[in-house]
Amino acid sequence: MSIRPVTLAALAITIATVIWLVSRWDYSPRGWSEEGVAVLESLWLESLPDLPPDPTNRVADDPRAVEFGRRLFFETRFSANGAISCATCHQPERHFTDGLPKGVAIGVSKRNTPSIVGTAYSPWFYWDGRRDSQWSQALSPLEDSNEHAVNRLTTIAIVVADKDYWRMYKALFGEASSVDTMFSNIGKAIAAFERTIMPMPSRFDRYVAAVVAGDEAQQAAIFTDEEVRGLRLFIGAANCTQCHNGPLLTNNEFHNTGLINFKGEVPDKGRVVGIREVLEQPFNCRGAHSDDPARDCAELDFARTGPELIGAFRTPSLRNLENTAPYGHKGQVATLADMLTHYNEAPDAMIGHNEAKPLGLSKRELANLEAFLRTLAAPASYSDR
């Protein structure tokens, strides 16, 4: 009588073990359902729509502005020590980031240097979205005392004094006008160049092409089983595509993911401050320097404010994230593995609340996910004449 329960238990354990083993052995990550293919296509770079126009910037798509802006982007005279350009922090060879926790120019920036790649698609700029156009964003580092540390007057004076620059400026914008107008024009030229900075197809995109074509041999040649498993987690149990969606793998919105504070600093309030700033900012979509006669500023008109945005930051694109470490708005997270561990645990946020929920993934699953994320590596393309 005392044997039966033991036997039953042993039997149950054996059966469970066998089921577990079989389920693992049988688990082939290959083969996608129709739904799965649709999700993959939605993340495919081929699905990226044409770049929408920027009506606030009349030279946004003018090739002369692209060339002028490209030269301004690398212009080191726009700095207090003559050594800092936009490219000091936004380094083309590092996916337009700098590999540092926080940008270092004249001083140390407040936050991690975000990539510029593909940001022409975003309605918001900076980690806290405190600017609403690429051109108004381009202006503010110039006057930031930790970054370029010059002002609008010196910037304009450099353009006017340089024969080439002044010729290019006049061809686009005409004669000299008010300081703020000329300053905003400089931003618009830089933005025209930045609009050309786009991600190139990664191994992931080649894999999706093979999936769409139904070419299984090709799929197997491009992705390992581990990477396919990671991709399944990415669009499934790991919930990544809730925010990192679309071909640029970002929704360009603001989320609190409960990252820890930067050592010695109070936790960053993020978007809740950024939205107040952009609404009051003189170079915003509603301002006098927008080229949109209709002042169609839906993003500002319908922008959300309030305590829900405490500690929220803009979702970064995951394209080429392998080469954009460290991660997070303060560069608090050194490696991809650390970031995945953070999401897996989803601890309470220091301020506001963490929108992410614990994932409960195993170490092996996290490794798969990381393997997949590395397949997103690909250089950016940009106009270099």
Binding site: G264, I310, M350
Partner: protein
């Protein structure tokens, strides 16, 4: 017991007048609450370099970087200049130190280890201090009322390094509080449903491009999306059609729209508004955007002279 122990006297500081009231850090129905007179805030302390995301209510395990956070439960605190001081406990009263003991200290600056000037801090209050040594400390938070000029203060004694007896009771209390906090957090989800349950019926849109219907007991709301089916990350418009349950169009109603994703505890990324009354019970709702796929709820409040109803539309993207 801990509550009585920590229910501290508060003191309207000497600026315009002196008065007595209750204050200090107490445990309330949820985590820690600091009471600055009648003004309350969630109070929590982190030691991120030694304890990561772990929250402390008062006593701290180590002499280390400590981040003090107050999340206001009373909006007035957003506009009141708040100052924050930490002193070494020289009162000899330990955790029974009160404002009168602090007020009796002759040279407050001499025992101050951290001071942050009075300043308005909207959204959430945060200060960071790295303790150089373990010991007994007293925190003093004071806030000045913008109109009356009265200064309200709260005093909370705490230990750094858990030098005294307080370690285990506090730890156990913390565990209980974390649990209580968890229950409250999950209660939030229920609130979503509770608010809308009486007057709702759902039809999942599931990205079908069909007019969708939501029913209320008095009003029937249908919506359509003229620019094609809703897709994520695109700002678009809805046309809402409101009828009475008798099938008569409801014109001239005041309509407010909010919504969110209950599973993620967040709202819409935008603040959609009815921008035009199109007549015949039709209303144009602009500025709608969804930024995640998954289960969304749109909470539509319709108000006219006869009635007010809240209708919830569910959709899955």
């Amino acid at each position: 017991m801990i509550r009585t122990e920590l229910a501290l006297l508060i003191w309207l500081l000497a600026m315009p007048s002196i008065a007595l009231a209750h204050g200090g850090v107490v445990e309330d129905d949820d985590i820690c609450v600091i009471k600055v007179n009648y003004l309350r805030a969630h109070f929590k302390i982190y030691q991120p370099r030694v304890s990561g995301h772990e929250q402390f209510c008062e006593d701290l395990p180590a002499a280390a970087e400590s981040v003090f956070v107050m999340e206001y439960m009373h909006d007035a605190l957003q506009t009141m200049p708040i100052d924050f001081r930490i002193i070494r406990d020289v009162t000899g009263k330990g955790r029974f130190a009160r404002m009168e003991h602090v007020a009796a200290i002759e040279d407050l600056d001499a025992v101050t280890v951290f001071y942050k000037n009075a300043m308005q801090e909207p959204d959430v209050y945060r200060v960071s201090h790295t303790f150089a040594e373990e010991g007994d400390f007293i925190g003093i938070v004071s806030a000045r009322h913008p109109e009356t000029g009265a200064v309200y203060a709260a005093v909370f004694p705490f230990e750094v390094g858990f030098t005294g007896w307080g370690y285990w009771p506090v730890l156990i209390a913390l565990l209980v509080l974390v649990q209580v906090n968890y229950l409250i957090m999950s209660g939030r989800l229920r609130r979503w449903f509770g608010k809308s349950a009486p007057a709702l019926l759902l039809l999942s849109a599931a990205a079908l491009h069909l007019p969708q219907v939501a029913l209320a007991s008095e009003f029937v709301v249908t919506y359509s999306t003229p620019d094609g089916p809703p897709e994520i990350n695109r700002m678009h418009s809805w046309i809402l059609h409101v009828e009475t349950d008798q099938g008569e169009p409801v014109e001239g109603a005041k309509i407010e729209v909010d919504g969110g994703m209950p599973a993620h505890d967040h709202g819409l990324p935008t603040k959609p508004r009815v921008t035009e009354d199109l007549g015949g019970g039709d209303y144009r709702l602009d500025g709608v955007r969804f930024h995640m796929s998954g289960h969304w709820e749109m909470v539509i409040t319709i108000r006219n002279d006869d009635a007010e109803e809240t209708v919830v539309v569910f959709l899955t993207l």
